[in-house]
């Protein structure tokens, strides 16, 4: 599960006003009538870290989750957007076909 800091995209050192600003910005992009669940998530994140006391409470009583995926996100993050060349495109097309049978190997169902 994402931390409230990640949901609001603020650092752990952010001030009350920074957090409020980030919250309002997020609510503007995700109003409750568009995606209520997302809005609830944003609102709940804000309530969790909105002031020094709530942040202290979060730091004290939030059980640190061993989120290995968060580490992988850090390890395999793109520093800049990829610019695909014609060569890359050719390689992708070639790789999609099995050489021996010309059988298109349709992708397996991926984990959600």
């Amino acid at each position: 599960m994402k931390s409230p800091y990640k949901i609001l995209e603020v650092t752990e050192q952010a001030s009350d006003s920074d957090i409020k600003q980030a919250y309002l910005q997020k609510v503007k992009l995700n109003p409750p009538d568009r995606d209520h669940e997302k809005f609830q998530q944003i609102h709940s994140a804000y309530e969790t870290i909105k002031n020094a006391t709530s942040r202290e409470k979060y730091a004290l009583f939030n059980y640190p989750e061993a989120d290995f995926d968060a580490l992988l996100d850090q390890a395999f993050i793109a520093s800049q957007p990829i610019l695909l060349s014609a060569d890359h495109f050719d390689k992708l097309l070639h790789a999609s076909i099995d050489d021996n049978t010309f059988l298109i190997d349709y992708p397996k169902k991926t984990r959600t």
């Binding site: 989750e65 580490l71 992988l72 850090q74 957007p81 990829i82 790789a95 010309f102």
Partner: protein, 840 residues
């Protein structure tokens, strides 16, 4: 397995007809294998075109069925059998070519492609055209010279090659206009989508992904789309994608993503494990690839991972240093809480608090938060309040804690000094807090401290000028004070009090009530005639009917401690057969509630007043048809404990509505509101009603019945215990006498076990005599004899000291000292007297 044969009768016209029917039946029921045998037999008799056509259809259907199962080679043979028996044009020719491509039979592929017409390629075989397009542009097959030159396919292929050429020559602006030339129905439609998505990856990953999602699942470009989609992903999502791919494809993506050696190395490890990563492996990978995974993330990750991989502790300390004391207790407490073990969690929190006590103001604030957190997990309200009160010593500014403490005391039946003390403290701390002021007002009214109530109400109205509650309280307070002044004959102050009540803007009814009070004041203290006049006018204004006017006069006479009869003369008399309308009953209920709100001591006066009019009420209730009216009256009568009228209401209600709430009120009123007086049969009835109330989601009835039954069970339980106590002389507290339990009972189970293991370890290493000396040196200033005496009296004392030593050796503060052990065992000796045998 022996091949199943179908018997073929000798040729005669009737036999052939039977055989033909059998074959047709098999064909129609989808049993193509049997149908093939029968048609073959028939064709031996005569070369019938219809039979041959049927035979061909059987071969075709079997070919398609095999292909669907992935048995392409078998499908090819069967399709060829079909072609031998069917006239051209042949069905599923495109499938046949696809199967040939899959078996890499290029000679036959080329022959077949040479037979394709433009119409077939462009209109009849879109799937084959799509596949051929991909194979041609990737150079997997070379067959351009075989395809019909006049086909749209060929024209579109030229466009595609133009687009590819523009891409290769980095003329990106030419690609879009070129691709636009491809119509929607083109064999290269999905190629166009894929290429557009490829060009968009750099600008907008989301848009590229949206385009990729448009490529149909059966499209030959779907796999290329999946590869491109993986490229748009990063982090865990990408790793998840790679789990589904073959090594060569993974290599291509790694190259496109431009991963470094370390990243590729980590990916290899992850992919080899195929998403079956153990906690140990994840922990070790986190430590091994610290630089890549981010040192700031790895440390908290490893710390959290220790809860499921405790063996990693040594590595953790090696890489990140020792975990600080508080953090260790905090994690243990949180782990217990996660497992629902709040008892042990509390122990660890307390240890954490001990550490924080050395950390000044920052520590104090954390202590307060922890105490409030512990309070939330307490079962009894008393424990909650104790924790909250303690928390305020560490952080005295938490408003929520003050409010919770006040609310707790407010709910108590008897007002305590503690409540007054906390109210004073809270008001001093938060003088303009609406909630705290409201609580203070309620308490003052309850204590008839009208001056204080007025003072708090005025303060509240300054902050919230439209607060109706405050206005009502202030109004009631003025009238109650006016009554008090009339009773004490301080008539000169009454008018001022009434005028202050009149100044409060609450509505006409309140104005009339103030005037009514003036009438009573004038009647009692000044001029009876003028008083009568004022009372009559005020009662007319309230317009509640004669009955309610009489009830009001009776109540006021009782409250003012003046004779009722002279006042009653002012109101018109009631006929003996007078019946209250529904509206009058509603108003009567409101009056009772209002008097009950004013002052809890009014209950006696209310009972007296109702006594005088109850005959009319009882008669009137019989005609009530509104359940809500009756229920509100019942709640009101319950509040003032008037069970006689409550029983009448219930009887009338149950004859009309068979509902759990009414069954509850029947039992409740029969027991006069006292669960201990409830009979067993009534308790069973209530259990049934509770079930029904829960099924009907009647929360009000569920709560009332649940509370009543709880109290009933408690009373039964205590009476059962009392019987046993009297039988066995009250010796049921033997368990509490166990000194080990008394000394170490507060420790969590796992800590107790840890210490016990350590005692075994210590005693194995050291012989008993030496151990005694060691313990005496540590805890008895080397006085071995004293130590020996204690152990001689109770050998368990030795175990207690061993536990203490174990804790000291491990550096754990368990809150037990040698003095406590001595005291506990000596006290034990002093109180241990021979216990009497039961019944003697």
């Amino acid at each position: 397995m022996k091949k199943k044969t179908i018997s073929t009768p000798k040729s005669s016209v009737s036999d052939i007809s039977v055989l033909e029917n059998q074959a047709l039946s098999k064909l129609n029921s989808g049993q193509y294998k049997d149908a093939i045998d029968l048609y073959k037999a028939l064709l031996k008799q005569a070369n019938n075109a219809e039979w041959r056509h049927a035979l061909a259809q059987c071969y075709l259907q079997r070919a398609l069925a095999f292909a669907a199962k992935g048995m392409v080679k078998e499908a090819l043979v069967l399709w060829e059998n079909y072609a031998q028996n069917a006239e051209p044009p042949h069905e599923a020719f495109d499938h046949y070519i696809s199967w040939l491509l899959q078996t890499n039979d290029m000679a036959k592929v080329k022959t077949c492609l040479g037979q394709l017409s433009a119409q077939q390629l462009d209109e009849q075989y879109p799937e084959l055209a799509g596949l051929l397009g991909l194979l041609i542009i990737t150079g997997k097959i070379s067959c351009l010279e075989l395809l019909p030159k006049d086909s749209v396919f060929m024209a579109h292929l030229v466009i595609v090659q133009e687009a590819l050429s523009a891409f290769r020559n980095n003329k990106l602006e030419d690609i879009e206009p070129t691709l636009k030339k491809l119509p929607f129905r083109s064999a290269f439609r999905d190629f166009r989508t894929l290429m557009k998505a490829t060009l968009l990856v750099h600008e907008s990953v989301e848009q590229a992904q949206a385009l990729i999602a448009k490529i149909p699942a059966a499209s030959p470009y779907r796999q290329a789309g999946a590869l491109l989609n993986a490229i748009t992903h990063d982090g865990a999502a990408l790793v998840n994608d790679l789990f589904q791919l073959t090594p060569p494809r993974i290599k291509i993506i790694e190259a496109i993503k431009n991963y470094n050696k370390k990243q590729i190395e980590l990916l290899d490890v992850l992919i080899k494990q195929q998403n079956r990563l153990s906690d140990k492996l994840k922990f070790n990978l986190a430590i091994q690839y610290q630089t890549l995974l981010g040192a700031d993330l790895v440390q908290p990750y490893c710390l959290a991972a220790l809860s499921t991989y405790s063996a990693g502790q040594r590595d953790f300390i090696k890489h990140f240093g020792a975990i600080n004391d508080f953090e260790e207790w905090r994690l243990k407490a949180l782990k217990c809480e996660r497992d629902g073990d709040f008892y042990d969690a509390e122990y660890y929190w307390k240890q954490g608090i001990s550490v924080l006590k050395t950390r000044g103001a920052e520590g104090a604030f954390k202590i307060a938060l922890i105490m409030r957190h512990i309070a939330t997990h307490q079962k009894s309200p008393e424990e909650v309040i104790t924790w909250l009160i303690d928390s305020l010593y560490a952080d005295p500014d938490d408003r929520e804690s003050y409010v919770k403490i006040l609310q707790y005391y407010e709910r108590q039946e008897q007002e305590t000094d503690a409540y007054k003390e906390w109210l004073d403290k809270s008001i001093k701390k938060f003088p303009i807090d609406i909630e705290i002021l409201s609580l203070a007002i309620k308490a003052s009214v309850r204590n008839k401290a009208f001056k204080k109530a007025t003072q708090y109400t005025q303060a509240l109205l300054k902050i919230d000028p439209v607060n109706t509650f405050a206005k009502q309280v202030l109004f009631t307070s003025h009238l109650a004070h006016a009554r008090k002044l009339i009773k004490s004959k301080n008539f000169h102050l009454v008018e001022k009090e009434i005028q202050q009540a009149e100044k409060i803007t609450l509505g006409k009814r309140y104005q009339a009530q103030a005037q009514l009070m003036r009438g009573f004041f004038v009647f009692v203290g000044e001029d009876k005639k003028q008083g009568e006049q004022l009372i009559t006018e005020a009662l007319q204004k309230t317009n509640d009917g004669v009955f309610n006017a009489q009830f009001c006069v009776i109540m006021e006479a009782l409250l003012l401690n003046v004779p009722i009869a002279p006042l009653l003369k002012i109101v018109p008399p009631l006929a003996t057969d007078y019946l209250l309308s529904q509206q009058e009953i509603v108003r009567l209920t409101q009056q009772i509630q209002q008097y009950a709100d004013d002052d809890s001591a009014n209950q006696t006066y209310l009972h007296k007043a109702l006594e005088k009019v109850k005959a009319i009420i009882k008669q009137s209730l019989k005609q009530i048809t509104s359940e809500e009216t009756l229920l509100t009256l019942c709640q009101c009568l319950d509040r003032i404990n008037h069970f006689e009228l409550l029983r009448v209401c219930v009887k009338i209600a149950l004859s009309q509505w068979d509902k759990p709430i009414w069954k509850y009120y029947r039992v409740y009123s029969e027991a006069n509101g006292n669960p201990t007086k409830c009979s067993d049969i009534n308790s069973y009835r209530l259990q049934e009603s509770l079930k029904i109330a829960q099924e009907q989601k009647d929360q009000r009835a569920t709560a009332l019945i649940g509370k009543f039954l709880d109290e009933y069970y408690k009373s039964r339980k205590s009476s059962v215990f009392n019987i046993f106590d009297s039988l066995f002389g009250g010796n049921d507290d033997d368990e509490d006498d166990d000194p080990i339990d008394e000394l170490f009972g507060h420790l969590p189970d796992d800590l107790f076990d840890q210490l016990e293991r350590k005692t075994v370890e210590i005693t194995k290493k050291t012989p008993p005599e030496r151990m005694l000396k060691l313990l005496a040196a540590d805890y008895f200033s080397n006085n071995v004899n004293k130590m020996f005496d204690l152990i001689n009296d109770d050998p368990e004392a030795f175990f207690a000291f061993l536990m203490l030593k174990a804790a000291d050796d491990l550096g754990i503060d368990i809150g037990v000292t040698s003095e406590m052990i001595v005291k506990c065992f000596k006290g034990q000796k002093a109180t241990s007297t021979p216990k009497p045998f039961p019944f003697f």
